[in-house]
Amino acid sequence: MFHKALWYQNYKQTRMIIWIILTLFIIHMPFQSVLSLETWKEREEQANQAEGYVYEVQKWDVLQIFSQGTLPVFLSFSIIALACLLIGLERNTRRNDFTFSLPFSRKDLFLAKWLYGISAIFFFHVINFFTAFFIIYQSDYSTALYLVSWIEIFWGPLLGFIMFFTFALLIGTFTGEMISQVGLTFLLGFLPQGVFALIQSFTEVHFRYIFSLPDWINYLTPFHYVFNQSGEIQSVVLPLIFTGLFLWLSTYLYEKNKIEHNGEFLIFKVLNPVFLTGITIGISLAGGMIVSALAPWSADALRVIAYWIGFTTFLLFALLIGRRIVTMNIQFYGKP
């Protein structure tokens, strides 16, 4: 996995997205910290003018710089793109033929991709974190850093991004091309919370019963670790466990890859019925949830009818989509 050629090839393949990720990290932390200091200063000046009012930086203000807000959302999308360029796009083009013909084991090929991605995430995060940390630390607002824990601002987001990148690569090891990889990364990235929302909607419409969301469902949702830093020890331990698990599974699957199925929905045909059934049920339940929400809240019978109209309509869509998915084959061939 430390073969220089593979690092070089991976960089050539992903150069643009790597620079985008670096730029997002710079905007997210150092740039935002500079802007936040100015904002805090301005707010303090305004507060000083008003009698009896003292401005204090809140915990939420600090979290915005390091682990929350919209930039982690863009970062997670960019991380999915990085994983897709490393695996999915290779499958859509003939690059996979070149990679698999090289005198390296498939394990080394995969681990080089993983290590390359997590190295980029690690260095970008660490460098930008400490730059932003130093900017705040040397300012008049250095005490604001005591409002947050290291898990919330450093370990949580870092391990969350690494785990999420590993997860996106894992999806790439069993999907046949880039669009499937993107689609299933989003779908499975929200799966536990998504399934919970669908079941909750079903019971709510039919039985007027609402479950409360158990914590373990959040902990099983990969996207949770990118968007939500609670500062609990679980935010460190669980991403580490998931990263290890995903890495082991994805290395195994990459070694067993049948690239003759590149361009198709899934590489392992045995998974087709599982995914098609899941997607069909999921889309149908989502249809029921969406259409039932259009009916008046108090009209119980109408909501149930609307639910099943939505369910049936979306079921038909799902069956049509499923048929396309089974026969899809997306390969890009450049001019020879």
């Binding site: 073969h3 083009t93 013909s101 005198p103 390296f104 020879p336």
Partner: protein, 291 residues
Amino acid sequence: MKISRVSKTIHGKYILSDINFSIETGSIIGVIGRNGAGKTTLLRTMTGILDPTKGDVTIDGYSIFKKPQIKEQVIFVPDSSEAFKNYSTKEILTLYKNIYPKFDEEYFYGLMERFSLPSVKKTGAYSKGMKALFSLIIAFSTGARYILLDEPTDGLDVIVKKQVLQILIEEVAAKDVSIIISSHRLDELEFMANKIIMIKDGKVDSLYEIEEMKEMYKKVQLVFKETMPQNLKKEVTILDQTGRVYTVIMDRNDPKIQHMIEETEPLLFEELPLLLEDIFVAKLGGVSHVS
């Protein structure tokens, strides 16, 4: 390089079935077969791109699937250079130097100069002919002992084609390498290959030296007083028929057929030069549709 009992199924269909042969260095081997016969699948399996469903490919006794490092001895040149279109000439050089320890940079630049190939910022800017030549130059510079080429002259103009063929022959003569070519251009293979592997329905139909093959068959022109007798039709492969004039392929070493023809007292019984294409039609012709 030894290909032992290699089978490959894709979508439940046998693409390759129990393929066996071995390749010695210092030769040019042509892999021929009709469209969809499994030629490209065979080359892709021989380089470890595809896993065989059964069987193994070994070099010096080592499986390329269990010990992939041995693939430093093999290079596959596909019929399209899509993988490198965004690389500059120098970047490709850097990449290959890091993959193949025996990469000969001096030799690479020598060939680039000889074939007047300029260094470019993106190899996607090369013309089709230039890309084909460039791929071959890279392949020969790696120092690999087995060079697998998929349709190397497909779509090239006559001048580039001659250059490509020239470089292939020179390489085998100068170095201890073996070139395995999958091609539809039987005239080119006939000109340079020592050995021909015919693939039919995913199986090796035959594997012979070209000269050996030509000694097995005879191409003759026959003119009969009337039409060709039915019993004779079963013994020969008719390549062409215009009225009572037949061009056929027959087994050279079967005196029975010779005797049957003579018995019909044909108006003309003349041997013609046998081409690889004739043997291809005779052996692989089968049903007329292209699969």
